[in-house]
């Protein structure tokens, strides 16, 4: 589904990514982990088109997407959430989700004529709102909601674009245990409905329990990829997380 080939990114004197390659297979839940500064969010920003790689390519469903605008990539079926939650604060929950619906309309002249709250769109939005456990908050302004709810709203909004592939940047950060469990359940549900998921996470328990495959980055390089149990035993990974002295 997603192929990252030899991607490097340099910001001035900082080499954020060095020749990283990995693949996300259709239907899986894939985790991208690594210590702070490993280049995970940079990789996300390259995948969804916010920034261009210095070299290397990204392929999504067989098509090269590096260098395309985010809205084009969204049109192809990629959705994304953010490390620091970014809902539209002054819109209601319903409006936030409605904003995600109709990516094709945004690129056509129907944008001038199509009503926001037509029956079809509202129905679809309400379904996603229910799926993500937001039914109680439909008409509330997004900015007043607790963080956990805003997270779910971000996911609902991303799904509203009919995304077949979802990028989640630290979805569990700032959540309490209860919320984290709920989130894992939601991600599994979404995945079962046919959405491939790639997420960044620091919470290891969450990651190990959820991911089918894990890719590990350290200092901008890929140091391991595999099943959770294999990655957990990998010496380079342990070293990267704990430092050399601890492992001896």
């Amino acid at each position: 589904m997603l192929k990252v080939k030899n991607v490097s990114k340099r910001f001035g004197g900082l080499q954020a990514l060095k020749g990283v390659s990995f693949e996300v297979r259709e239907g899986e839940i894939h985790a991208l982990i690594g210590p702070n500064g490993a280049g995970k969010t940079t990789m996300f920003n390259i995948i969804n088109g916010f920034i261009k790689p210095t070299s290397g390519h990204v392929y999504f469903m067989g098509k090269r997407i590096d260098g395309l605008r985010p809205s084009r990539i969204a049109l192809m079926g990629m959705g994304r959430t953010f490390q620091l939650v970014r809902v539209f604060p002054e819109m209601t929950v319903l409006e936030n989700v409605l904003a995600g619906i109709g990516k094709r309309v945004y690129h056509s002249l129907r944008v001038f004529s199509e009503a926001v709250k037509n029956e079809k769109n509202v129905k679809k939005a309400m379904k996603l709102i229910e799926l993500c456990g937001l039914s109680k908050h439909v008409d509330q302004e997004a900015s007043v909601l607790p963080l956990g709810i805003q997270r779910n709203l971000e996911i609902a909004r991303a799904l509203a674009t009919d995304a077949k592939f979802l990028l989640l940047d630290e979805p569990a950060s700032g959540l309490n245990d209860q919320e984290t469990k709920g989130l894992a359940e939601l991600i599994r549900k979404v995945n079962k409905s046919g959405v491939t998921v790639l997420f960044i996470e620091h919470d290891m328990r969450f990651t190990m329990g959820l991911a089918h495959t894990i890719t590990v980055l350290d200092h901008g390089e890929k140091i391991a990829q595999g099943k959770p149990e294999d990655v957990a035993k990998n010496e380079r990974v342990i070293e990267a997380y704990l430092g050399k002295s601890m492992t001896t």
Binding site: N48, G49, F50, R69, P70, S71, A74, L75, G79, R80, F82, R86, F88, P89, E90, M91, E95, L98, A99, G100, G102, K103, R104, V105, Y106, H107, R110, V111, F112, S113, E114, A115, V116, K117, S143, R157, A158, A160, T161
Partner: protein
């Protein structure tokens, strides 16, 4: 009573100019000084097409379209390149652009005041001692229709939602498939078209079009968006009328010595000192 009519007309003009400015500020967070140059362009094009065609409404239509396109040009060729820079860069560009525009109009259309005499043939309305001139009637109607259309567009169409999404978080809007580029262009088109409308209406109302006619409106419209709470469309509409009423009442009050334009700024300074976020934006953000 006569003052109320006058204030409503004045307020209409302020609002027409400021709504465009608010759209631009809301999305790009740029203080678009050159908007007043766009307003002047609208007036000149309107006058030119009126001379050419003899039909006011056709001239109005042509001017609005062309001025709207000029607005898109300002975005594409000037602001777009410097969006990543500090906000001071587009501001300075905008000021420079405004001055260049005025000089350009001087070269093309001469520096002199030109009459823009249009008669609509509906006559003035007289009611119990109040006179509403036909020009005032037209201004009120055109403003009402434009604002109503804008309200509908912003709240009930996908385009409006796309514009609000871009105003709240442009990057996110992109990840949802919103064509950010096109949405900004449409915002500039609409804002500039409304400015052209205001320019033409003022030109006809005062029977006067000249290259520096945008100067006072450029300052005034800033007062309006500052009062309105930076980027809030409702705020801009309310603030436009509040400003017009304050000015008119204070000027009508014989003992008040300050000229009209000074009043606007006194109001703005007072409001900013008490409520720096503007009148109509909640203090929590």
């Amino acid at each position: 009573m006569q003052d109320i009519v006058n204030a409503l007309v004045l307020g209409s003009i302020y609002v027409l100019i400021s709504v465009g400015l608010t759209l631009v500020y809301g999305i790009l967070k740029i203080l678009h000084i050159a908007h007043a140059g766009i307003y002047t362009l609208g007036a000149f094009l309107g006058l030119m097409f009126y001379h050419l065609t003899g039909n006011f409404w056709l001239a109005l239509f042509l001017s609005i379209i062309l001025t709207g396109i000029a607005g898109i040009g300002v975005y594409r060729y000037f602001y777009k390149r410097v969006l990543e820079e500090s906000r001071i860069v587009p501001l300075v560009i905008s000021i420079g652009l405004f001055i260049v525009m005025q000089d350009l109009y001087r070269l093309i259309w001469s520096p002199y005041r030109q009459p823009f005499a249009v008669s609509f043939g509906i006559g003035d309305i007289r009611l119990k001692g109040i006179v509403i001139t036909e020009h005032q009637v037209i201004i009120l109607i055109v403003t009402f229709v434009s604002l109503l259309s804008m309200y509908f567009l912003m709240n009930h169409t996908k385009l409006g939602l796309a514009m609000r999404a871009c105003a709240e978080d442009m990057a996110i809007a992109g990840t949802l498939g919103v064509d950010v580029e096109k949405t900004i262009s449409v915002a500039f088109f609409l804002g500039s078209a409304l400015a052209a409308l205001a320019g033409i209406l003022v030109g006809v109302y005062e029977n006067n079009v000249y290259p520096t006619m945008g100067e006072v409106p450029s300052y005034k419209s800033f007062v309006v968006i500052v009062l309105g709470g930076f980027g809030s469309l409702y705020g801009a509409v309310l603030a436009g009328f509040i400003l017009a009423f304050t000015e008119t009442i204070l000027v009508a009050w014989k003992g008040f010595v300050l000229p009209r334009d000074a009043i606007a700024f006194l109001v703005m300074i007072t409001v900013l000192m008490i409520k720096p976020e503007g009148l109509f934006r909640r203090a929590t953000r």
